[in-house]
């Protein structure tokens, strides 16, 4: 029978089936400091061990400061969580990339970077953006702390089989430097809504997906969860195999695996998906979110909508949009390009990899940021930071007036000192514009790295297509 890529990976990992749910084997478990302490405590209380410490990797990313790492951490509760992870990793024999490691970084950035992420593997982490790693053709998804404990103890997880949802990305982008992977995924979420993928795993297909780099595919898969899907997949291809070749944790006889993956990791022709959606990239423009969920997004050439116009007759949506407009301090009808900003954040597991920084640097090179704007770059990992410095990106950004920080999740969720003040407005390359996400009362506009960089220069949103990006 013809199978989808998801079904092939799923079927290959079922250990047992009972009462309509499956026990799924997990090949890679990534752990960070915020969602794991209670799980390790659970193990201790029940005198259980970590079944496969060799398949478990940990780092600290959510609440690490992005300022000078040689100084002690000021926030005592953050320091406690970081110390708790150090203790647990030592006690249970887990490889930890700690705050001083040259490999430290956002868990979804370092997984692929170190070759921990592999095609066809099942990967979990106590973080919803684990979906990022589906860009490699892995079945990767976020789990809660109880499941973190469950995977630590058993290397398995109980799950009901999700439905399949194909997302075809077709057409030809006229200006791929200005209309990025971020604009594609925001456009998809705008159409299907934040609950559109609930109960499903996405598979992104189509000619545009093949053209995208792995870093761009990661941006798209990352925000699958913002469209409600627990995971998003892209079938691996030559680009995937080349990206991973030579990385630290890939299998020794890599070429044999590549042969196997080429043969097996694709959706068969004739395989049926439960749902399908097609987006034509010819029509996509740079996107700017105006509301408090990622579906509340507009074209840069557009205006902030009226709640009624956005809701299209849905009263619940209308109420939500009214509240969002009020929270965001925006008047319907305002041109997106008339929205002024106070802060710029380029970083997060969505957009903090080397290619994101290279693209953003093209916008700011030789320019100065607006005197009204405070802007920062937070590389996704220490490896990204080093590579960027080797090609002089740090200098370009610093000369333009940006702060150049250490790696971590930073202002994407503001668990460390990087937060917005009340009413501050931020152009952010992160993934969530929820109320208070970047700081109580802070206002987040989700954009691509080039759009964020352009806004930093002008102090308001601008159509980045009008700038020279070559």
């Amino acid at each position: 029978m013809a199978k989808t890529l998801f079904e092939k990976i799923w079927d290959a990992h079922v250990v047992d089936e009972q009462d309509g749910r499956s026990l799924l084997y997990i090949d890679r478990h990534l752990v960070h400091e915020v969602t794991s302490p209670q799980a390790f405590d659970g193990l201790r209380m029940n005198k259980r061990k970590v079944r496969r410490p060799d398949l478990t990797f940990a780092t600290m990313d959510h609440n690490v400061p992005t300022t000078n790492r040689s100084l002690p951490i000021v926030d005592q509760t953050s320091a406690m969580q970081i110390q708790a992870l150090e203790r647990s990793c030592k006690e249970f024999g887990i490889q930890l990339f700690d705050i001083n490691s040259p490999d430290q970084g956002i868990v979804h950035v370092i997984g692929p970077e170190l070759g921990i992420t592999l095609p066809g593997a099942t990967i979990v982490c106590g973080d919803s953006h684990t979906s990022t790693q589906g860009a490699f053709g892995a079945l990767a998804f976020g789990i809660g702390t109880s499941d973190v404990e469950h995977v630590l103890a058993t290397q398995c997880i109980w799950m009901e089989k999700p439905k399949t949802f194909e997302i075809k990305i077709e057409g030809k982008r006229k200006n791929p430097h200005a209309v990025t992977a971020k604009d594609i995924i925001l456009s998809i979420i705008k159409e299907i809504g934040t609950g559109g993928g609930v109960g499903c795993v996405f598979e992104y297909k189509g000619e545009v997906v093949s053209e995208l780099s792995l870093e761009q595919r990661m941006t798209i898969c990352n925000m699958s969860i913002e469209g409600g899907a627990r995971a998003g997949l892209v079938a691996p291809d030559e680009k995937t195999f080349e990206y991973l070749r030579g990385r630290r944790y890939i299998p020794k006889n890599y070429d044999e695996y590549v042969e196997y993956w080429k043969e097996n990791l694709k959706t068969d022709s004739g395989a049926k998906f439960d749902k399908s959606f097609t987006i034509h990239t010819d029509e996509i423009l740079p996107q700017v979110s105006w509301g408090t969920n990622p579906a509340m997004t507009a074209d840069v050439t557009g205006r902030v909508p009226f709640a009624q116009e956005y809701a299209k007759g849905n009263l619940e949506e209308e109420k939500a949009a009214n509240r969002a407009l009020q929270y965001m301090g925006l008047k319907p009808g305002t041109l997106i390009t008339d929205i002024t900003i106070d802060r710029v954040f380029i970083g997060s597991c969505t957009n903090s990899r080397l290619e994101d920084l290279i693209e953003a640097s093209k916008v700011v090179k030789g320019k100065r940021i607006s005197p009204k704007v405070q802007a920062m770059i937070v590389p996704g990992s220490q490896n990204v930071k080093r590579q960027a410095e080797e090609i002089g990106l740090d200098k370009i950004f610093k000369d333009a007036g940006f702060e150049w920080r250490e790696s971590g999740c930073s202002m994407c969720l503001g668990m460390n000192p990087d937060i917005l003040a009340t009413d501050e407005r931020c152009a952010s390359t992160s993934n969530r514009n929820f109320e208070g996400r970047q700081g109580v009362g802070g206002r987040t506009h989700l954009v691509s790295p080039v759009m964020a960089a352009a806004a930093s220069i002008y102090g308001h949103f601008v159509d980045v297509r009008e700038m020279d990006l070559n």
Binding site: A12, V15, D16, D19, G20, R21, L23, D27, R28, V34, T35, P37, Q38, D41, R48, R51, D54, L55, H62, N63, M80, Q81, A84, L118, G120, D127, S128, G142, I143, G144, T145, S146, E149, A153, T154, Q155, C156, W158, P162, T194, G195, V198, I225, E226, G228, Y249, P251, K252, N253, N293, E316, E317, A320, M415, R432, F434, E435, G436, R437, V440
Partner: protein, 196 residues
Amino acid sequence: MEPFRTVRSVATPLDKINVDTDQIVPKQFLKLIQKTGFGKHLFFDWRFEKDGKPRRDFVLNDPQYRNSRILLTGDNFGCGSSREHAVWALQDYGFGVIISTSFADIFYSNCLKNGVLPIKVRQQTLQKLFETKSEIEVDLENQLIKLEDTKIPFEIESHWKKILLQGLDDIEITLKHEDKISKYEGSQANTKFQIS
């Protein structure tokens, strides 16, 4: 886990869609390393003014819902972050049942893992429940939401029903299948993902 018992109370109507877990428990409270005590942080930014006073216009501060154990809410509840702290906060506050038209996947699973019952109903049913002012009863054994004048059946996966009613430990259940896990680990299917 405590076995799930029949819940009877008025239902708190939180009439919003797409409530994300950042709202249920904001990030400043995720630094605790235990599972208890999150109730006072539930819906923190919606529930309290900046000076810490309860906001009069927020439904949890309405005295008639003070002892409510059932939360009614709109579509796609619990979307966003996977933080299980959201469920720990709802449970610690006193909610044992959450009724909506749909739930985000990770949140749904997090609820069940903690013995909180998420019930999916149709829009029409949710509307009726929103209009109900008297106490309602949630009977998991018989899969019924009981109102004064009617009984509404609901669906739940059979294994979750069993786990909730008996208060079973999921890890304990899985460890009974350890032979199968070991067999899988030794099989061809898995060997290609071993770290070499």
